[in-house]
Structure formats: C-alpha cells, structure tokens
C-alpha cells in the first residue's frame, strides 16, 4: 500500500472525486494558482481548469453562500477555508442556509456541500488562530462532521463527504498535513459515522479524534510501560457519533478518558461522557475523565501553549486516575 502524507491523501480524494463526478468543484482562497495555502489542491487547477478550481476573494461569507447556492443548483461544491478560524465569518451560510435548507424546504432541497479546512491549534498562532471548532459545528442538526486523524481516513472520509447529499464539515489539521501513512489506492471510502479502534486494549478506553489520536497513541505507549493496556478509539466522525463503538469499548474496559483539542466547557467529550454515563452506567468502574485544552484563549507563548494543550502526560495521568493507580 502506498505511503502518502495526509495532504496528498486529501489531494488524491479530491482528484479522484473530481474525475469521477463532473459536478464536483473546489472553491476557496488560494486553492487555484497558489495550489492551496497548505498545498492540498496541488495540481488540480492544471488538471481541471479554472471553472472547477475557483480562487475566491477573501470573503468567507460570500463564497460559502455561493457554494450553498451552487449546491442548491445541483453541483457538489467543496469549499476550502484557509482555516476554520476564518470560517466564523461564514457561519451564517453554514448554519442557517446549508444545515437548514433540507428541513425548511420540506425535504425538497438538498445541499450536497463540503466545507473543509484545518481546525485547532498549530504552533504559536495565538488565540484567534488556534481554535478547535468541532463542538460548535457538531452542535448543529443538519450538519455532518468528520475529523480524520490519519491519511487513510482523510482520503476515505473526504470521499464520503463529497458523495454525501448533506452538508459535511471536514476538520483537518495544519499539524496533520505532513503526517504519513498507508493509503489504499483508488476506491477507498470510509463511512461517515463509524469510529475505529486504532489500538486494542483491555484496561481503559482513550476516546480521541483528529490530532488527539497521536496524543492518545503516545499515552497508550507510556501506559503500556506501566503495564496498562489502553484501547485507543478514534471517533473519526463527530456527528453522527458512533455510539455503539464507544459503548462496546467502554463495556470491555470499564474505564474511559475522552480527549479533545477544544475547550472543556460543553465540548465533544461532554457529549461522549453523557452517552457513557447513561448507556454504560453499570459497566463503569470509575468516573470518566476528560483531557482538553485548558479553559483559556490559546496562549502565544510557546511554553504556555504547550501547557494549555492536551498532552500524552495529561492523558496518562487521567488514565491512572480512572484506574485508581494514583494512590488517591
């Protein structure tokens, strides 16, 4: 199986879907001539021309709205935001138009659109450009939200997102674009709404998604040295959430730590914990712990930024807590 970067896996998905379906087109800031701020759209303008790879002005609300209109008219737009921090300006189109149209039109108007771009903190981009938006987006009925953590999942989920007849949010990561991994050639589709056990274990479930998969895997390595067998469950989709997979894992391990990049208050983890306490109550041996970004705007200072982020050390500490290994 070929090894690709996350960025090239996305590129492959875009290219294959644009080849497969002439209605698919890409739109966003610098996606064409510059080939993408993060080079996800490398070579696409050359291959598909300016009608299908459209450079837009710096006007997120505008081009998101054009995308929604195009979807209403029968096309399958892929709208790239340079980062999800900029997509705040487009939230009205995403939340009020894309997400609601099917419902408010009585099922007559589908919006098969993909909004994608990097989400969450990278390195020292300061508070306004270091935010994880998944709990905002996954909050909205009418949207699907996926957050692939590996190159293979990036390809497979972007393909599913493009083929879906509903608006799908694809959360990528600046720190993920260089991540390498095996990616199946050609038709590789990862269904939306399916989590995956990335590492099997028996003592504690580490629930993660996107960049926190790496955090969880490092934590699992450290825990293994302490004779703790951690299961790493990558949610992959945040809406719909693979509730069955979460429950199955927790029923096996009896303990869970939920990790996310975002802030703790009303985060994705809160939703996961709600599910576990309700539907796996009798299988729990300890209160579920969460590891999140500190409840502050992301600091610019390097050391403070590191301290604010979810880290393997914090996950290990939380896992030891649910395993009652801290002597408290």
């Amino acid at each position: 199986m070929p090894t690709l970067t996350y960025r090239d896996a996305l590129n492959q998905a875009l290219r294959e879907e644009m080849q497969r379906d002439p209605n698919v087109f890409l739109m966003g800031e610098e996606v064409g001539v510059y080939q993408g701020a993060y080079k996800v759209s490398r070579g696409l303008l050359e291959e598909f021309g300016p009608k299908r790879v459209v450079d837009t002005p710096i006007a997120e609300l505008g081009f998101a709205g054009i995308g929604v209109g195009a979807a209403m008219g029968g096309l399958r737009p892929v709208v790239e935001f340079m980062t999800w921090n900029f997509a705040l300006l487009a939230l009205d189109q995403i939340v009020n138009s894309a997400a609601k149209m099917l419902y408010m039109s009585g099922g007559q108007i589908r919006i098969p659109i993909v909004f994608r771009g990097p989400n969450g903190a990278a390195l020292q981009l300061a508070s306004q450009h270091s935010q994880a938006w998944e709990s905002w987006l996954a909050h909205i009925p009418g949207l699907k939200v996926v957050a692939p953590a590996t190159p293979a999942d990036a390809k497979g989920l972007l393909k599913s997102a493009i083929r879906d007849n509903n608006p799908v949010i694809v959360l990528e990561g600046e720190m993920l674009y260089n991540l390498k991994g095996d990616v199946p050639d050609g038709e590789h589709v990862v269904p939306i709404g399916k989590a995956e056990v990335k590492r099997a274990g028996s003592d504690v479930t580490l629930v993660c998604h996107s960049k926190t998969l790496t955090v969880a895997q490092k934590a699992a390595d450290q825990l293994a040295e302490q004779n703790v067998s951690a299961e790493v469950l990558d949610l992959r989709s945040l809406r719909p959430l693979d509730e069955a997979a979460i429950l199955e894992s927790v029923k096996k391990t009896n303990r869970a730590v939920v990790i996310e990049e975002g802030w703790p208050h009303i985060g994705i983890g809160a939703q996961v914990v709600d599910l576990i306490q309700r539907d796996a109550f009798d299988d729990l041996d300890a209160p579920v712990q969460r590891v999140t970004q500190a409840d502050v705007p992301m600091p610019y200072n390097k050391h403070l930024e590191r301290a604010a982020k979810a880290s393997p050390e914090k996950v290990v500490a939380a896992a030891r807590k649910v395993l009652y290994l801290n002597g408290d």
Binding site: N254, F281, D282, D283, L284, D285, A286, Y324
Partner: protein
C-alpha cells in the same frame, strides 16, 4: 397517623445496626419508652425504645437484618391503622447482610448450618439506595459484579477515593453467606486440620476499631504491653540441657527458648497469630516465627516455620543457620517471608526493654530485652533473680489490649516454668 420507628444512632459512630431481636411483636401494645428491640451497634447490643404509644402495627425488618441508621424498622399506631409499608417493598435493608450477620464459609470449617438465627428471607432490593451517609460507595460496575456474585458490599473494603468499592475490590471477594453469629472464637486453640489458616471477615466492631485506630496513628495503630519475666528456672533448664548436650554441640540459647515459648503461646492464643488483610483478618493455624536479625545496613526476619512443633535443638540449629546466611545475604525469599508473628531480640546489646515495630501484615511482635540480675522481693526477703523484660507490640486492628495481655501472660508462665512447654 402511624408513627415511624427508625433505626436510631445508638452510638456516636454507629452507621448501621443489626436487629438482633424484636422484644415486641406485631399487634403488641407499646408505650413510649418500652424496649421494642435489641440492636447490635458497632460497639454493643443496645435497646431500641418506642417513641410513641399505641400498637406495634408492623415490623419492617426481620431479626438478623442489618439496617442503615435512619431507615424505618417498624410502625406504631392505632389498631387497624394503615401504614405506608403495607404491601409495598420494605424500605431498604437492601438484601445485603452485614459482617455481623454473615460470616463466610471456609473450606476448613464450614459454617454450621444450625445457626442460631435462620436466615431471614432476602428483602426486596430498594429501587433507590438510601441517601444517607451509611450508603456503601461503590462504582456501578462493582455494584453489578457484587450483585451477580452475591457479594455483600458492606464486607468489602473499598480501595478507591473515599473508600469507593471498585472492580478490583469485589473480584474474588467472598460471597456473603447467611449463617448468623458464626464469627469464630478467635481465642480458640488453633486447630491442626491440615488447613493453614482461616479467613474471618471483619465484624462491625472490628471494622470500627480498624478505621478509628488507623486514623489516629497510622497505618498500623500500635500499642505496647510490657511484662517482666523471671528467667531463673529457664536459665537452670538451659544450663541442664546444654550440659546434657555436652560435646554434641548445638547449644540452646535463651533466644531459642523464647522462640519456642512464643510459638507455643501462639498456639493457645490464635487471636495473636494473625494477619490484618484490609477486609478480613487471617487467623493462622500454623505458627511461623519471624526472627529479626541485624545485618549490615538493615535487618531481615528469617522465618522458623512451624516453630511450635520443633524441638529446642531444632530451633537452635535452624535459627543459627538462618541467621548466619542472613548476615551473608544468602536467604531465599521464601525463607524470610510468611511469618505469622515475629520476635526481635536486642538483649545482647544490654537493652533492658524496647518496642519493636510490627512487620505487616503480622499483628504482633515481641521485643526481648537483656536478662539481668535484679533484686526482687521474695516474701519478706530480697533475692537476686535473673529477669527479662518482654514488650509486645500489637496491631490494635487485630489485637485488643486484653487479648495481647492474656497471650503475654501465657508466654510469661511458659518461660517462668519451662516444664509447661512439655505439656
């Protein structure tokens, strides 16, 4: 309107009580102040008295059941009056039985089926656990495992935060059985049945002692008992025996005599030959004496196994051999673990008396001072006798003052009259 009779807190630390006996029965007239029932608290059996006049309308809790403080145990009212509990589920004796009412069976000594109080029918499990402080804190998983396995959570020592019972605490925990008042008489002589020990769940009072004393001095609440022993006859016996052994070698030391005496006294006082095991006490039927040996930069306690069954010569030879290898650090792990009681001797350093620190999980250790000639009264005269001061350190979670004192008295008698060891 009928009046509720609650399980009252009859001692300051009482969290639950076992209803030993109903003195009044349904239909009996009662007056305020009458004794309704006898209740075993964490300290003693107390009387539960009526707080209203009328008729004992309904008894909610059968004899032998343990009930948290605050739960309704009966109703008093006018004859024929309806009470809330009629036909409904009895409020929450939870179907679990306390340590007092449920000693577990052991393979060594099956709990007698002819228990004084036959088991009451299990009470329906209350849908909602009572919200009082006596509720056992347990993880949902631990509760489920306990329920499936028939384990009484009250008997389980929780190792989680705030004493929460978690999975690891209930896995392999003994199932609660129903025979009442089968708490073994721990002062019994150890039966030599081929079974090395017997695990006895902590009773209510034992649990309270363990909790309170451990909280006051911690982790092991030590206390100390000292007695002075006249070693004159032991010394004479030792001289005679060593003369007898003569050139054969392998002389007998005072230490050997003391180890033998301690072992024999432990056979008579199994209550001191025990391990504290957090949720139960292990009373050993075998006697293995740990013998503290000073080694370079530390100490180690090689074990003389079945010391009660060995002759003085055997003990002497074995202790010399073990001590020698201990100093050379040539002991195997199985040679310095598994003691049921220990002895520490600093007599050779001219220490009159001292207190030794207990070697957990053992419950006691005897510290041996020097044998010194002392002027002691003998009737009207003063005579010079060889005397020895013994100090026993006791784990109060296992051994109470009187228990230790009785053991020490036996030990003293054996040393003062070594012929008793032949009995």
């Amino acid at each position: 309107m009928a009046t509720k009779v609650h399980m009252e807190a009859l001692s300051p630390t009482m969290e639950e009580g076992r209803l030993v006996k109903w003195n009044k029965h349904e239909g009996d007239p009662v007056k305020s102040g009458d004794t309704l029932a006898e209740v075993e608290t964490d300290k003693a059996v107390m009387e539960l008295v009526a707080r209203a006049d009328g008729q004992l309308l309904k008894v909610m809790v059968p004899e032998g059941t343990t009930v948290p403080v605050g739960n309704i145990v009966a109703w008093i009212g006018k004859p024929g009056e309806k009470v809330d509990g009629d036909g409904a589920a009895a409020p929450a004796p939870k179907g679990e039985r306390s340590a007092v009412s449920g000693a577990r069976e052991t393979p060594a000594k099956p709990t007698p089926s002819a228990a004084p109080n036959p088991a009451p029918a299990p009470q329906p499990v209350a849908a909602v656990a009572p919200a009082d402080a006596t509720r056992v804190k347990a993880s949902p998983l631990a509760r489920r495992i306990a329920k499936d396995a028939g384990v009484d959570l009250k008997l389980v020592q929780g190792s989680g935060p705030g004493g929460r019972v978690i999975k690891r605490d209930v896995e392999g925990a003994p199932a609660a059985t129903v025979a009442a008042q089968a708490v073994p008489r721990t002062a019994d002589r150890a039966p030599r049945t081929g079974v090395p020990y017997e695990d006895v769940p902590l009773t209510q009072i034992r649990k309270t002692i363990a909790k309170r004393l451990a909280a006051s001095i911690g982790p092991i609440p030590h206390f100390f008992l000292t007695t002075e022993v006249d070693m004159e006859r032991a010394a004479e016996a030792r001289e005679a025996l060593n003369k007898q052994l003569g050139e054969e070698g392998g002389k007998i030391s005072f230490n050997d005599i003391i180890i033998k005496a301690v072992a024999l006294a432990l056979v008579q006082h199994r209550a001191c030959n025990a391990w504290f095991q957090e949720d139960h006490i292990r009373y050993w039927n075998e006697v293995h004496i740990g013998m503290a040996v000073a080694i370079e930069d530390g100490l180690i306690t090689p074990v003389i196994r079945n010391a009660d069954m060995k002759s003085l010569r055997e003990i002497g030879a074995e202790s010399r051999e073990l001590a020698g290898r201990a100093r050379n650090r040539r002991l195997k792990p199985e040679e310095y673990t598994g003691a049921t009681f220990s002895v520490s001797n600093l007599g050779m350093f001219d220490i009159d008396q001292f207190t030794a620190v207990i070697n957990p999980p053992e419950a006691g250790i005897v510290a041996i001072g020097s044998i010194v000639a002392k002027a002691v009264p003998d009737g009207d005269r003063v005579v010079v006798r060889r005397r020895l001061r013994l100090t026993m350190s006791c784990d109060h979670r296992v051994i109470d003052g009187a228990t230790g004192a009785v053991f020490l008295k036996t030990l003293k008698q054996m040393l003062e009259n070594p012929l008793a060891m032949l009995l």
